[in-house]
Symmetry: C3
Subunit: 170 residues, 3 copies
């Protein structure tokens, strides 16, 4: 497999891990000193960092376990990536991709069965987030690992303790 | 073209055929003994098989002709796949991809023309389904063909004759 | 990088340029004599051309500057492409891809901060358009450039001066 495909598959495994809330699997894709930063849109159209950077696979694993809500019953998600631009230079690489997150919520089958005439999939699929992954990787012992992962989101972000702050962060 | 790209294009042709309701074209992508199984989510979060497996390209063609609703006037669809993970081993391969299905419904132009001030695309694009394609392929006379195609859907599924059954299928 | 990946990245840069309303960047992906034609769905299910063809990178740049609405505050978009089929023959190539356009609209943070209990992304992501890119490219001085770009859209299209016309264009 060529390097470009191998790098793209790191992101394919990243989205499967995040959709499965598999923090250990997601963390294993990062180096120990990787830096992960999330940015949200603010009113002037620029972006502001959300919270503090996460550091390394351990930081990613902690964030998945503590900051990502578990899926409700019959709920799931798809982080879909597209239009990858990948530059490889020796044992380092940079990847830029678009992402859209879909939230999936199934309708539970009623105790007495589906009403007469009900046919096909039951539930809703809804896009809830979009943005870019701007990611740097390094070849470590033959495997591409993420060393830097910036996530410029397209939407404003409200932190739990949100309120007016001197830095104007949303 | 490398094997990975050739395999990914089998899926690209599969989604075009299914969106065009082209059963013959879709069936031609499968071996005669291919096994196709659809799985839906059930209440406990696991999956249950929807109906019986389809067998071979002929089975796929029959299903497209008999089980897929034709598009309404100005209606169409896009089965979009993303984040492919592909493993090739000699003349066999395994492909895993995310999919999201979009239903497209155009608004017919009124007999007297669009109302004043109406500009741009007229209609709706709506995600209605999502899940994974988990697919095995084999190189047959120089072409990759699907030998096994599992479709774990993310939503519960109501069959036309749905009702309580001993197997608890939804 | 193989030719197939290089060609796919032309489209990846195309969608970034169009989402950024970067007419110069988008135009630079086309040859001077490139022909761009947009087609919309009409009532009988066939397609009719929208307006006149655009010619060359200059035509594309003009169209982005004059025909594409700027994003509103906290607004953005993603043209997402998928399921590419690419055929390369010497220094020419043909690319077919699905596309879905997502419109993103953020909610501005209230002057007094987000209401208590507000957490996460604030705003909406909405698919608004879909169709295909049917594109021909040529290798010019070592770079793939678009020579022909057809965009069969899935939805009817209302032009600003729409009304009944002899050609029946919608």
């Amino acid at each position: 497999m060529d390097e470009r495909s191998r790098i793209q598959e790191v992101l394919a495994r990243y989205v499967r891990a995040t959709d499965a809330r598999d923090g250990a699997g997601q963390g294993a894709l990062f180096t120990d000193d990787a830096v992960v930063r999330i940015f949200s849109k603010i009113a002037d159209g620029s972006r502001a960092e959300v919270g503090e950077p996460l550091i390394g696979g351990a930081g990613v694993e902690f964030a998945v376990a503590n900051f990502m809500a578990p899926h409700p019953p019959l709920g799931s998600s798809h982080h879909v990536t597209a239009d990858h631009i990948i530059e490889v230079e020796g044992d380092t690489a940079r990847l830029n991709a678009q992402y859209v997150v879909f939230e999936v919520q199934g309708t539970p089958r009623p105790d007495g069965g589906w009403p007469a005439g009900t046919v096909g999939v039951q539930g809703a699929v809804r896009p809830i987030e979009a943005g870019y992954y701007d990611t740097e990787l390094r070849l470590v012992d033959g495997a591409w690992k993420i060393t830097r992962h910036h996530v410029p989101q397209d939407l404003p972000f409200a932190l739990p303790d949100a309120g007016p702050t001197p830095s104007g962060r949303a």
